[in-house]
């Protein structure tokens, strides 16, 4: 089943947007522009990522790129959308919507409807045979979820930003919540062809969130080879990423991201977690409309 992923750009001149995970809520920096104008990036690339959080196997997939900002403050950034409400250059806040991809027995995410799909680079033959047996065989399928919440970012100076986002609505019963706290070193210098941004942070989740993505219910334990596991909430992960944007021209950009993430607490001890530390690498060409 195809999986739709989006890459989030770091595009700011005075302040770039962040880029953590590909599927998490992202808030690009405020982009002042003329009334009625917009700034849009569309592109395509590839990503190598774990099949699911905690998975020991990886897959390479096509990676659509989408980031749009309108003069009224509304933005779409990867699989999230929101609105900038602050009038201050040093503070950003507003509502946020985000799509949390689902997970099926093979670990791949459930298709996100309503958005154009792209073909995938499938797993190699040997790897596919392994997945036919179902790494998550017997586990309930988790549907795609629309999460809602908000974001609040503070600039310590034009280069350093503390960012936070809170989203609820993930999980089996749509009652999972995730709080993400990051510190970011943003790229500057309009005119520089190369912009590098660094991000480091933590993710905190409630019990319902962890139960959905890292827990094993009694029924699942009966059907699968996993023992029952009831994780609690709390600190779920610590992550760090580096984004490199190569501005080839005012219209074209090569954007690449490397993220390391380590699961913590009950998520790392889950029987579903084969590898608590994982890397995600992606690169894509994007055109600025």
């Amino acid at each position: 089943m195809n999986k739709l992923l989006f890459l989030v750009l770091g595009t700011g001149a005075l302040a770039g947007s962040l880029a953590g995970g590909t599927a998490r809520a992202q808030t690009p920096a405020v982009n002042p522009m003329p009334d009625g104008s917009r700034d849009m990036y569309v592109g395509l690339g590839a990503q190598s990522a774990p099949r699911y959080e905690g998975s020991g196997s990886r897959k390479v997939s096509a990676l659509p790129v989408l980031q749009v900002e309108w003069s009224n403050g509304i933005f779409i950034s990867g699989m999230s959308a929101g609105m900038h409400l602050s009038g201050s250059p040093t503070v950003e806040y507003g509502p946020l919507l985000a799509v949390q991809p689902g997970r099926d027995e093979s670990g791949t995410s459930v298709e996100v409807g309503g958005v154009g799909m792209n073909g995938l680079i499938g797993p190699a033959a040997g790897e596919k045979a392994m997945f036919m047996t179902g790494r998550l065989g017997g586990m309930d399928e988790i549907g795609t979820r629309l999460q809602f919440g908000g974001f609040y970012n503070v600039y310590l100076d034009p280069q350093w930003r503390l960012s936070s986002s809170l989203l609820v609505g993930a999980g089996r019963d749509r009652d999972g919540a995730r709080l993400e706290l990051n510190v970011q070193r943003l790229a500057l210098a309009a005119g520089s062809h190369h912009r590098v941004s660094l991000t480091a942070g933590v993710g905190l989740v409630n019990r319902q969130y962890n139960e959905t993505y890292f827990g094993v219910t009694a029924a699942e334990a009966m059907r699968s080879r996993f023992g029952p596991w009831q994780p609690g909430g709390g600190l779920q992960d610590v992550h760090a990423s580096v984004r490199w944007n190569w501005v080839l021209s005012p219209s074209w950009m090569l954007t690449s991201n490397l993220q390391a993430k380590r699961l913590l607490g009950d998520a790392s001890h889950s029987p579903l977690t084969q590898r608590p530390t994982n890397l995600t690498v992606s690169t894509a060409f994007a055109y600025r409309f």
């Binding site: 002042p32 005012p250 074209w252 090569l254």
Partner: protein, 224 residues
Amino acid sequence: MCPVRQLIASLALLLAAGSAGAQAQDAVSYRDAYRAMVVFDKYGGPKNLLVNQLQVLPRERGALADGLLLSLTGRSTQLNLPLDPLGRTVFPLQKAAYDENASLSLSRKGIAFTLRPQVSIAPRADGVYDVAELRSACAQALDFARYVDASQRSRQCAGVRFVFGKKAEAGARLRRPDGTEQVLPVANAEAEDGFPAVSWRFGGAERGQVATYNAPLAILPIFE
């Protein structure tokens, strides 16, 4: 494919894609410059004593030759913006250029450069500046700096720097209320790419005027 091979393949893709773009020209997005420049335009605080200009910073020192222009090029937009010796120009805020994703490039090819907004104190035609007005102008500039950069909140106005184009043109004197005058020393200001400058630091309760012998290229606030 094993994970390591997949990772290597991804990195190879990244490098290959990067090599493909190595022929990129030195042009800057108008949108990036716009978003940096429009902040001053939208700023609601006092700014009547200030000017906001776009400054070209070439990577090579001394690359700003006479007659160099900054060209704004879009589908329906073509403007040549003259640069002063400091590389500054008045930036046009144009919706058409923004929507067309216009580019900014230098009239002479092969010069790598970056852009930045520069807020300075507006020069006066008569070259005479009340000390009180210079203090107010510096305060306005500091308020704007604090507006865009929270880390500036601990800084204070310390003075102003008059930057001149040539050593022969550089010079200013302080006129005190009692009629006495003091010639202010000229120094080569490294921060201004070697242009001669006269720095005048605010005293305690000093009143009077600062008069320049010739029109300065720029009057920059000093924050400490």
